[in-house]
């Protein structure tokens, strides 16, 4: 609990403190009421979701070993492969956009802009049917669809990150590289790019959260991810809502940890004085994580 960045209120006096206490209690009561209503809805005899039989399966190892963990593993597998490939293509595209050769930068620019406006799900559907009808893959078409869909979109996002990262470096860096006799390309690869990637590291980690969440779209093209595993499992016990809550908790824990890691990296970079610029806000497109403001 640090102080909010803009203090919009005076230090409360005795009257205000009482008022805040009252409002706080009212807020808490309203929250508890809403929770109570939800719990009553769940406990309603027609669709009882609160009984032990709906929740006890989560205590059995088979639930985790047969459904949830394999699902989580394939979610992580797809997300991991996608982020690695996106990094490779994203760096190439980002450098392509910065290229001095007009044709290369034009093509990369069009590619990036196009794939940033197409929804990930549409890309996944296309990649899935492409694997099915064009490549005639015997198996793993959903996996191909998920990864390729994610890579097209996220490499475009990472390309933008790289571009703004290189753009935020002082121009003296490139000039110094040229001055000691490096070519443009060498200066880019050995001087600018490493610094840009270091500066963009927090945003790249935040992008991992986006990739993980988007992997859940793979459910729609039949990829056996965490959501699919949970749903398959819940049909055995009719405990869809408890399963969803457990799955949501799994996602939240992983993503929240990633967000905190990103913030930690950002702070350590700031301490070393190498923090990167935020991605250019004026570009329409994806939800990058908002700039880290002081935690309330």
């Amino acid at each position: 609990m640090t102080a909010p960045t803009t203090v919009l209120f005076d230090a409360p006096g005795p009257k205000a403190r009482v008022r805040h206490l009252i409002i706080g209690i009212v807020g808490l009561v309203v929250l508890l009421l809403i929770l109570g209503l939800v719990i009553r809805g769940l406990a309603n005899p027609r669709n009882n979701q609160l009984t032990a039989e709906k929740w006890s399966p989560f205590l059995q190892p088979s639930t985790w070993l047969d459904y949830l963990l394999p699902g989580l593993l394939s979610t992580l597998k797809a997300a991991g492969l996608a982020i690695v490939l996106s990094l490779v293509f994203g760096i190439l595209l980002g450098i392509g956009r910065l290229s001095k050769i007009r044709v290369v930068s034009m093509v990369s620019g069009v590619f990036v802009e196009f794939f940033r406006s197409v929804p990930v799900l549409v890309m996944m559907l296309f990649a899935y049917y492409f694997a099915l009808y064009v490549l005639h893959l015997a198996s793993n078409q959903p996996f191909f669809g998920v990864v390729v869909g994610l890579v097209f979109y996220n490499s475009s996002v990472i390309a933008e990150l790289i571009r703004s990262g290189v753009g935020s470096l002082p121009s003296g860096q490139r000039e110094a590289g040229l001055a000691v006799g490096l070519t443009e390309g060498q200066a880019m690869w050995s001087i600018l790019l490493p610094q840009a990637i270091t500066a963009m590291l927090p945003s790249l980690i935040s992008q991992l959260v986006v990739v993980l969440k988007d992997t859940a779209l793979g459910y729609i093209i039949g990829y056996y991810d965490l959501v699919r595993g949970g749903q398959t499992f819940s049909t055995n016990f009719g405990n869809l809502i408890p399963t969803m809550l457990v799955m949501a908790a799994m996602f939240i824990v992983i993503n929240y940890a990633l967000t905190r890691i990103a913030q930690g990296v950002e702070h350590s970079l700031q301490r070393r004085g190498r923090a990167g610029g935020q991605p250019d806000e004026s570009l329409p497109g994806e939800l990058t994580q908002p700039p880290v403001v002081a935690q309330l």
Binding site: T5, S117, V209, E286, V293, L296
Partner: protein, 229 residues
Amino acid sequence: MGQLAELISKYHVALAFWMTIKLTVFGGLGALIIGTLVAIFRVAPINVLRWIGTGYVNIIRNTPLTLIVFFFAFGVLNTLNISLADQQSPTSIADNNFRWGVVALSVYHASFVAEALRSGVNTVPQGQAEAARAIGLSFLPSLTQIILPQAFRGAIAPLGNTLVALTKNTTVVSTIGVAEISYQMKNMIEFSPQLLYAIFLLVAICFVVLTLPVGALFTYLSRRLAVQR
């Protein structure tokens, strides 16, 4: 080309496109309302409200939209039987799916709206809040008359990003049978796989047409309306 035109009329692509627009507009309005409330909670002087706001943003932002859509459609609608449509009407199933889809989109994007607004509040100089307090405004008046109007203007770019993301995320609602454009894309490709590329391009262009103007408009607005300091 003739085959594609046939498909377009057979699968009511224009209607599906309209459905995507409807989802975007209603979802956007809902997200703006909930998100503004959550943002107010996050800067309130009361601890409990701040915790509620922070909790909301952290929980919702880290859950996949797919899961949130399922939660409302299968959990709330099917398991708990909470209906948002007239059960007697012939279109009650479609209406229900559409309405819960809008709720899911609103709830999910509200967390991003709240974050955008909070970064907007951070663009308002400290002196503005101090001046507001100096002339005797208490928390809510200073927020609604001094801070939020400027915060909205400072948050236009991230709000635009949220709206573009919302437009693209409407596709997720196809999972619960709302006939929007990606739903029809799936049907069209399965019906005539030989037109795979044409269908993909058609859908992609639909989204480019939707998102590019919005992006450009918000970029223009953020320059035009930015508070001159």
